[in-house]
């Protein structure tokens, strides 16, 4: 069976959830081989094998940590040349998409980003995307080179399927040209104890309607074990960090449940949350466009509705 390369998404060796999703999906297309760039491969190996990695290619080169995107693209392009895989899968984050883009140009391959599903159809790799703020579903294929597909986090439920996960160390010479955009400082996001926004099963977001007080939004999120998101209006006002913005110029999320509180539902906000499975809104304006999307909506003041809902959730959970 053909090899399918999966770029391991990790932070300093700690795997992000999307890696297991990619391995699960890769098994539909062939035999997954994980590509681990950076430190921590020995620890990651156990999990990579659990989700079906037959091989784990390990590339440890300081340049890949120190410079933005370009070195990782060179490493993957070299592996694509070496292994002629059936496909290369990555996580559809800004970095993942940019790596994919450069590998595509280097190897003369078609690239599809923001996919929510991938399948083998008549021997070809077929992807599903949701476009124009979720109003259309598009299926596409790659017609040239190695199919390179970036999949959104939460695209598939993970399923274990143990394989050998044999570590194979690979040396790739990284060119001077790739060492040009240097990461001179990196400030990790403050730990909140809440799940990561793009990975979370539940996201509770607040907008201008919070008037700057996110405490009811956070309390409700915590009762559900959810991540907290924000509209751009809330971010622009300085009420919440930009890294929590949901939308066209923020994060694209597709959780099982999305709760929009005091958010009107502008097209740019929808672009980041419309693929959520279940959508709930709390808004005091019954005409707010967000209500066009909801499975359940409460017309009311979030400062009354959320605290009561938080208590009821806590009581129900016991």
């Amino acid at each position: 069976m053909a090899e399918v390369l999966v770029l391991v998404d990790h932070v300093g060796g700690k795997l992000r959830k999307s890696t297991a999703e990619l391995l699960t999906l890769a098994r539909r297309l062939g035999e997954p081989s994980a590509v681990h760039i950076g430190p921590g491969a020995e620890t990651a190996q156990v999990t990579l094998a659990k989700y079906g990695a037959h091989k784990v290619y390990v590339v440890e080169d300081a340049a890949a940590e120190e410079y933005l995107v370009a070195p990782q693209a060179e490493i993957l392009a070299a592996l694509v040349e070496r292994t002629s895989p059936a496909a290369l899968l990555l996580t559809s984050t800004s970095v993942g998409k940019e790596i994919a883009a450069r590998v595509a140009v280097k190897t003369g391959s078609g690239v599809i980003t923001d996919a929510v599903d991938v399948n083998a159809v008549d021997g070809a790799v077929s992807t599903t995307q949701s476009v124009f703020a979720g109003s259309y579903t598009v299926t596409a294929t790659v017609t040239q080179g190695t199919p390179i597909v970036a999949l959104k986090p939460n695209s598939a439920p993970i399923a274990a399927s143990p394989a050998a996960g044999v570590i194979e160390r690979v040396e790739v010479a990284i060119s001077e040209a790739a060492k040009s955009a240097r990461i001179v400082a990196s400030e990790p996001k403050k730990a909140t104890g809440r799940p990561e926004l793009t990975e979370a099963a539940i996201v509770v977001s607040g907008g201008r309607g919070t008037g700057g007080d996110f405490s009811p939004v956070e309390a409700f999120a915590d009762s559900l074990g959810a991540a907290v998101g924000a509209s751009r209006a809330a971010v622009d006002a300085g009420w919440y960090p930009h890294s929590n913005q949901v939308g066209q110029t923020g994060k694209q999320v597709s959780p099982q449940l999305y709760v929009a509180c005091g958010i009107s539902g502008a097209i740019q906000h929808r672009a980041g949350m419309q693929t959520s499975k279940t959508i709930v809104a709390v808004n005091k304006d019954e005409e707010a466009p967000i209500f066009e999307l909801v499975d359940f909506g409460v017309v009311g003041d979030l400062f009354n509705v959320l605290p009561q809902a938080t208590e009821a959730v806590k009581a129900a959970k016991g």
Binding site: L68, V95, A101, V111, E187, T249
Partner: protein
Amino acid sequence: MNIVVCVKYVPDAQSDRTFNAEDNTTDRANVDGLLSEIDEYAVEEALRLAEAHEGEVTVLTVGPERAADALKKALQMGADKGVHVCDDAIHGSDAAATSLVLAGAITKATGGSPELVLMGMSSTDGVMGVVPAMVAERLGVPQVTFASELTIEGGRVRARRDGDTASDTIEASLPALVSVTDQINEPRYPSFKGIMAAKKKPVETWSVADLGIDPAQVGLAAAWTKVTAFAKRPPRQAGTIITDEGDGGRKLAEFLSAGKFL
């Protein structure tokens, strides 16, 4: 300093965007279009840098005839001149082909030595966010993308990039390609003076062949990806909407409990 800003003409997100049934490409003919909003931030940043560093701003677009509207807006904001790559051969180009044309046009517009290339982080229609990385790859210049803050000093670029897990500071030397987010500035509105002045600003129109690119390398037939089908999403089933009469929170919790979210 020469600054080239790449801008895209996109269908208005407020209109009903759709596809052409014959060839599965984005319908750009039957909907109103405009300068992609995120690109306004790139134009604004270019103007500020040009003011601070005595630069000249060339605004570049690749697109159909109507894409001239996107150039016009950027010229009204204050860019010095425009370049429009307009060629029937481009219709249906994918990101890779678009990046090839952009890289060719940037090279030609700067006599082979670009200093600073600015772009928006992604377009408001395709939203892939890959073209800046592809153009940097093709030009062989440093890629400094998703800049939420930018300074240029002594031939060096310094930018803040907010990632998923960290906020990074990126440094590179010029020439460089920078893509910006909507956090970077507040784009200006064209002034009356700007609108009048734009009418006299030069705009060159180039074909793909003018860039030394074989037209067979671009367009739908040359695309490396293919849309096999598109379907309008069935409208969401109308949800339940209740008005809070003192028990809205409890009802919300009941809905979540019934949906097994607790």
